[in-house]
């Protein structure tokens, strides 16, 4: 029962955080000129009517016989729809309402993102993000799993064998994780793997050990690959029918639901390398904390008591010290989650994974076409919500692991 009260209390504390985050994005959005705010919400004006978002237009555009300048009725209507003519507090209230009801605007036709992904043109931002989110979530879950599997045992080991080779190796790993930019590491790994495995499998970016040339489950075309990672597999019958049934949207789960376990495995294989790169950077930060908290716990009285009782050293490390040092690990992981999520655009860009990070990476590009503010703000809101939700989970885990938190 105490646990539930604790969870509800944490959830209530989240309300000001969500309001605050959205207020910050609102301040940034309303710093844009009205024209750009309209573009961010409704997309670029059509090519035939470039004046659509101008407040004043020559009257001849509306009525061929008139002269002089008139108010643009289209602009007035659109601005009223976004509430641009209202005072700022009311605009803020409208923005909050729109954000919470997932009206995040539309993808522009002429932005870099719209040009690169034609299928997303004119679609609501939330729809496009919903297509892509499952891929990013799978990647996040896989890299989190790698982080937990590697960082905790390695951190504990380097605390137990302090200043021995294991500790030194962990230290070097941690430092190089800090010092190597993710894009450099990702590119090096990509090139290395493709060079090493390419001759056997054919050169391929998405996953070097898979011979086929397209990623599984391309969200943009809604198609499955022609050939899986494990060659000579029969082409699944439900793919031939033309309509793809995707009950969950998660490629791995979908394949498993259809009984195509090799396809599910294939999907996991393809995101293994990017997940490793993401995990490497986060492990670097985490490893030192795990080691230090383990060192601290190992010096506490209850560990000495356990030792003097004659509990085997293995059990002391695993059950007594290890369990107690987990609290710090979980907290630090929650704190670095925003950083962890921020690394996705690069990795998805390098490995050409079609996820939220990828769409963000192309929507910020402004060399050849304008940046897509609708997508930028949308994916920032999405990433922030993910971080907030992750923090709730961390808090609950923390309370579960440490009774002092929920009882104190």
């Amino acid at each position: 029962m105490r646990m539930w009260i604790y969870i509800v209390r944490r959830l209530i504390l989240l309300i000001p955080i969500i309001i605050g985050v959205m207020t910050i994005t609102f301040v940034l959005l309303s710093a844009l000129p009205p024209r750009q705010q309209l573009v961010a919400h409704f997309g670029e004006p059509p090519k035939q009517k470039p004046w659509l978002y101008n407040p004043q237009i020559p009257c001849s555009y509306l009525n061929a016989s008139q002269k002089g300048t008139c108010d643009n009725p289209y602009y007035t209507a659109l601005a009223a729809k976004l509430g641009l003519n209202l005072p700022l507090p009311e605009q803020w209230a409208q923005y909050m309402y729109r954000s919470l009801t997932f009206q995040w605007g539309e993808v522009s036709n002429d932005s870099t993102a719209g040009q690169t992904v034609p299928i997303a043109q004119g679609q609501p931002v939330t729809t496009v993000l919903a297509w892509l989110l499952p891929y990013t979530l799978e990647l996040a879950v896989l890299s989190l799993a790698i982080i937990l599997i590697v960082a905790i045992p390695l951190g504990n080991l380097s605390a137990v064998y302090r200043n021995r080779p294991v500790d030194q190796a962990a230290r070097i790993m941690s430092f190089s994780g800090y010092a190597l930019p993710a894009f450099l590491l990702a590119s090096l790994l990509l090139i290395g793997f493709v060079l090493a495995l390419g001759p056997a499998t054919g050169y391929f970016v998405h996953s070097p050990w898979c011979p086929s040339g397209e990623p599984t489950y391309n969200e943009f075309t809604g198609s499955w690959p022609q050939q899986g990672c494990f060659a000579n597999n029969a082409y699944p019958s439900w793919l031939n029918s033309g309509t793809i049934s995707t009950p969950t949207g998660f490629p791995t789960l979908d394949a498993a639901i259809h009984g195509q376990y090799w396809l599910a495995l294939d999907t996991i294989f393809r995101i293994l390398l990017p997940a490793l790169v993401i995990a490497f950077g986060t492990i670097a930060g985490l490893l030192r904390f795990v080691r230090n908290s383990m060192l601290e716990v190992m010096n506490l009285d209850f560990v000495r008591t356990a030792r003097s009782k004659g509990v085997p050293e293995k059990t002391v490390v695993k059950r007594h010290a290890g369990r107690n040092s987990l609290n710090v690990t979980i907290t630090v992981l929650g704190l670095t989650f925003a950083f962890f999520i921020g690394g996705f655009p690069i990795i998805e860009d390098v490995f050409k994974l079609k996820g939220v990070g990828y769409i963000l990476a192309i929507s910020v590009q402004q060399t050849n076409a304008p940046a897509d503010f609708g997508l930028i703000f949308g994916s920032t809101l999405l990433f922030t919500f993910i971080v907030v939700i992750a923090n709730i989970i961390v808090d609950v885990l923390y309370a579960y692991l440490d009774p002092r938190v929920r009882l104190g």
């Binding site: 955080i17 000129p33 450099l184 090139i191 910020v364 503010f373």
Partner: protein, 466 residues
Amino acid sequence: MATDSSTISAPEPVRGRRPNPRLDQYKRTWYFLRRNTLAIFGLGVIFALVLVAIYASTTSIPWDGMPLCNSTNNQVVTFQELGLPSGTSWSVTMDGVTQTSTGVNISFSEPSGPTYLYTIGNVSGYSAAPSRGSIGVGGVPLQVSIRFTVAPGTAISGRLSPAAALVLPCTVCTYAAGTPSPGPNCYQTPKNNPSVIAPTVSLSPPGLGPLPMGALTLGPGTAYFYNLFNGLLRGTDYSLLLSVSIVSVGAMLGLIIGAISGYWGGVVDEAIMRLVDIFLSIPTILFVIIVIAVVTTTYQTVLGLSLLDTRVFLLIGGFMVVWWPFYARIVRSQVLVVREQKYVEAARASGASRSRIVLRHIIPNSMYPIFIQMSLDVGTIPLLTGFLVFLGFNIWPTPYFPEWGTISAIGTLNVVQAFLGACESGACAIPWWQLFFPGLALFLFAISVNFLSDGLRDALDPRLRR
């Protein structure tokens, strides 16, 4: 009043300032740091980099851009408008060709050699300066800044400085492969194609000569390159300055806010901690991207700064806004410990004001964790700017801006592009030096800083010293 001092001898009063009690702590820290080989290695590398930075700031290479060379004989002439509201259509006529754009730049590609005439098209309500002129094309790409001002005499407030000018011309000369270069700025011409000056991708590996670290081509598929060695040299002071300024401003803010939050407690503490939570939930990189994109879309420049200074200001500001919460948290937890100490109690008992206690007693004694975190973060900044450039997000007004993160991002992109393009067709020629040298510089910098901060932590924490 005379006192009898013969019976009771008072302790000799110390004259002048009392010796600083923290001096002993500094000495002790240095003693333990000195015995840590890795930390001393890090300190040495950082010291050397600072020397290089000081040297670089005295060289003649311009501050805001690298002298470029072009590997084909066609040159790009770019016209850049300043002062028009975004989305306004404007046009340039050059050599009989008219181009119209609503963007900032209009580019022409013209053969080198002759001098061309250009005219700026009329924009209603604005007057252009210069509105016409002539330009000699040869050697290097050119950039012309056209400044639009509101027509009836009222000048736009603020200083609008033109974008980087390109100065040093590249000498074109040919010589046999394997022989030394006949002069400075003279680059080897690839066999079979004498009209193209090396290095196109993969044609100028590093070696002794004009390009000791090879050349950095600007983005895959472009014909421009510059001397990688010069770029890295020039980038040293820039990268160091940017990292140190971002981190120190963020830390300063975090220190003050964290100290207030920890010492005042109660409602103030609660409010500040919620604010910290809000900022900690926004992904760092995305926030910086949005700040730069929004501000540069609305205004070309802010606060009367030049184009480059505006970007630097926004970069520092953006990072600072999302960075102080980390420091504030660290400082707060430290202050919660420090404020219970006897010396703070003593200060309070002797009637010191709150601000004096915070400034003179609490802040100086909660500084050390901040130093460690700062030294960790300094190494991260060039990585993050590289991250932005790698995404294709223009942070600098010129793509050839000498900054380590930018250089390594461009180099990595080139390598990946060459790899995907060439290796799939069988002929693998990877310009590895474009990735290796900038990566090495970044790695060396970040790892030295990390070694140093790890050494500092060990030297400062008595429990780890055993």
